[in-house]
Amino acid sequence: MPIKTPFFPRTLALCNSMFWKEWAGYYAVSSYETHHEPEYFAFRNSAGLLDVSPLFKYSIKGPDAAAFLSRIMVKDISKLNVGRVSYCCWCTDQGKVIDDGTVMRRAENEFFVTSADPSYSWFSRFLRGYDVVLTDVSDQIAGLALQGPTSREIIKQICNADMDNFKFFATQEVNADGFKMHISRTGFTGDLGYELWCENEHALKLWDAIMLAGKNYDIRPAGLDALDVARIEAGLILKDVDYYNALHALIDDRMSTPYELALGWTVDLDRAPFNGQAALKAEKERGAQWAIVGLDINWSEIEALYNKCGLPPEIGSHSWRKSIPIYTEKNKLVQAGYATSGTWSPILKKNIALATVEKEYERIGSELQIEMTVEHKRHTVTATVQKPQFFNPERKTSNPKSGQS
């Protein structure tokens, strides 16, 4: 049985659709109304409020906290400035990705890490020799993501933060009404947005404050269905959907290196030893075998296939997550890779997907074929390779005063 997050009294009251799913053992709203599109448009046009408490959260404190995390993460965390956030992944000895998440440096010797999978067991295996205290605070800290163009203005109403100078991937501790919380300018929508972290006991107060302040800014509680559409548009990969946790993979072929997941930019190779360093050095020299790409699936061809059957195009409005074969050429069953998730993009008016293809097919602009079943028969449709970031608005990183981050 899933359990309740600290926001459950509010999310339950608002969830008219009764559409729930299980996220990391918690009840999570799929969509508050019977269709998720208004929530999606809140992310893109005003502000959507999402309960992210089910994320796993860890506090790492002590004189060796930076060195400890630098040993575990592919990124050199010792170089992360106080008040900054790093998106990164962590690997096995073989350089295969276990999970990805954010690392926030709240003070010189104080870090906060989020992850998708339980990570205490893995992190704790490296404690020997480091003067740090690692604490699993997953069930002590409540998290909310407020994402969308008006999110900055809403947060201004509820706390003393200097929001106009709050840079992308920065974090700060702020005073809200009677309690302290941490805000990070992070999120999973690829839009302007923030994540707010407070002690469980203040959760409902925080929710109410945000919803009240958001009234004039078209705020809307949002569920995971809307988030999934937004994250695919933003080209953000998801564990267990677009890749497997290497510790859970049943076969080696299901493991991926950061270079194969388009996370090569997060890897700092030349520094003190860290987990997977030797394997990643070799991988970089050898070159990755696979690449994650974006696919723009040709709409006219889809329309034509349905027309042939005398049907209008039937494309689901929900995102999908299943493995679909990608071929090199029409009518030729040579596989270039496989798509792992995709969606109709309401803002781009495109049918898009995230795919893993062999390295030689990653060139932007090249045309591949994606399998599509129309009226029980299999066909292929042209899909053009592009960067996974389908939607990347300037406001995601910009600030009102300077105009940029």
Binding site: T92, F126, G129, D270, P273
Partner: protein, 513 residues
């Protein structure tokens, strides 16, 4: 970095000296570093009270391999030895003394004084040992197969071992495969009837390890000991070390004592570049060979992030729970046990139940109040001891490394008293002639000799830690860190004074470099 030496060997015990000497004979320039002011490690003879010395922390040299003695020409450096094991005396609580000679007929007639049945059983037992001995000694004298990189050559090595097992003949092979996993108590109960004799024969199977006589696979330990114990070195460990020291110097090894290693140095690709001493001095070398425990080598000489996870975890799970303490006793008389003098190697135990109870103590984080004793007695004739006086060097089983009260002057005094009470069962007025005592708890052993958790074998002799010792990725003396090798008791064929880990490690290094 310019090289100061081809190879640095860490630790000047019997294995470090053996490896260093062989490497120097193989044409390498070798520096041997010893943290203490004397060489020998746990084989070093030491004065524990003015005028009174032991012949070593461990006293059993019966497992020293003839191959090492021959190849290092130790006899030319003053070693004299016999190719049979020394006589061991087993004490019973009712004044029994059994002298167990390496000569079968003598041993059988001694046992017959207590039980005709046991005398016959012993004859059969020795016959079985003799049959499996070629196979066991083959395992001990060869590097273990590299299970991590099973190529044709390695499979052939494995196959040859299988053939050697098959060569024992169907009956012996099946008997070996049946008894090896058994507890030593079950095994010996099938054959013998007299409790103190069974206990005395079984004792080497449980010494030094986290096992009692009822623990599984202890029979394998007994068989390994019985097959390996084929040597008597005059003067014991001390003489062995003296010969090894001369041999190493003659082959050109540079030896530095009082040189404790602080770090093994690696470059960016985790290749060994040398060592840094506690004094800060750096010594450059492309190969470092550690005779220290695997745990000390990886956990103390390297930084945590220099270990891959599998190495970190493998070493963490390599069991090194010390269970042995040492009590040295100086006496102003000749020691008399159960009315007998002139004994050298003496074991107590009395019965499996009493031994198991002694082991139970460490399971529940206490030291045994009625310990099992493994005693070596020396006199003026074989050690630096005043004429007419004697020294009892006693390995006390079982005592844990850590327990609630912890080791202190007070708890060590309690351990001494427990040891003396046990000895007084065989020598009622022993305490009246005591001149001096020394108690070394497992923590003292750790501090003095660098034995992780005070384990005298660097890691338990359990089946999983014997097959790929210490862990699969380090089982062939090389380690995942390029240029770093192991050569101590934590490697095949294990602890006790055999010199074989040092020998096989040096062979492997010379082959690879």
């Amino acid at each position: 970095m310019n090289k100061d030496y081809d190879i640095v060997v860490i630790g000047g015990g019997h294995n470090g000296l053996t490896a260093a000497t062989l490497l120097a004979k193989g044409g390498k320039s070798v520096l041997l570093l010893e943290k203490r002011d004397i060489l020998g490690g746990i084989a070093a003879g030491e004065e524990f009270s003015p005028g009174y010395s032991t012949i070593g922390l461990l006293h059993d040299t019966s497992e020293v391999r003839h191959k090492v003695i021959k190849e290092l020409k130790l006899e030319t450096y003053g070693l004299s030895f016999k190719t049979s094991r020394p006589l061991v005396s087993i004490l019973g609580k009712n004044k029994e003394v059994l002298h167990l000679s390496s000569d079968l007929e003598m041993a059988v007639s001694e046992i017959a004084k207590f039980s005709q049945k046991d005398a016959e059983a012993y004859r059969e037992y020795r016959a079985f040992i003799n049959k499996i001995s070629p196979f066991i000694n083959k395992l001990m004298d060869e590097s273990p197969p590299d299970l991590m990189n099973l190529g044709t050559g390695q499979l052939w090595q494995l196959a040859k071992k299988g053939i050697a097992l098959k060569k024992l003949g169907k009956k012996t092979m099946l008997e070996f495969l049946k008894v090896a996993p058994m507890s030593v108590a079950d095994f010996l109960n099938e054959k013998f009837e007299t409790d103190f004799i069974k206990a005395g024969i079984a004792a080497p199977a449980i010494f030094g390890s986290y096992t009692g006589p009822w623990s599984s696979y202890t029979t394998l330990n007994l068989l390994l000991h019985e097959c390996a114990a084929q040597t008597t070195i005059n003067g014991g460990p001390e003489s062995l070390i003296s010969a090894l020291k001369k041999a190493s110097e003659a082959s050109g090894v540079d030896i530095k004592t009082n040189s404790e290693v602080n770090r093994i140095l690696l470059d960016d690709d985790r290749m060994v570049t040398g060592v840094q001493l506690e004094s800060g001095e750096m010594i450059a070398a492309s190969i470092v060979v550690s005779s220290c425990t695997p745990r000390r080598t990886f956990y103390e000489f390297l930084l945590p992030n220099q270990l891959d996870f599998h190495l970190e975890n493998g070493i963490k799970n390599y069991r090194t729970r010390g269970t042995t303490a040492k009590v040295n006793i100086a006496l102003n008389t000749k020691i008399v046990l159960n009315g007998e003098t002139e004994m050298k190697f003496v074991r107590t135990g009395n019965s499996f139940d009493e031994m198991e109870r002694a082991f139970d103590s460490v399971k529940y984080r206490e030291f045994s109040k009625e310990p099992v004793l493994d005693i070596h007695l020396s006199s003026h004739d074989d050690s630096e001891i005043p004429s007419g006086h004697s020294v009892a060097s006693v390995l006390v089983h079982f005592a844990p490394h850590h327990f609630d009260q912890g080791w202190s002057a007070e708890t060590k005094k309690e351990l001494l008293n427990a040891t003396l009470r046990t000895l007084e069962l065989y020598s009622a007025d022993l305490s009246n002639s005591i001149v001096a005592t020394e108690v070394l708890s497992p923590v003292d052993l750790e501090n003095r000799y660098g034995l992780s958790f005070g384990h005298i074998f660097h890691g338990e002799h359990a089946i999983d830690q014997l097959i790929t010792r210490p862990i699969p990725s380090c089982a062939n003396y090389k380690t995942p860190l390029s240029g770093l090798y192991l050569c101590g008791s934590g490697s095949h064929p294990g602890g006790g004074i055999t010199c074989m880990p040092g020998y096989l490690s040096a062979k492997a290094i010379l082959k690879n470099n």
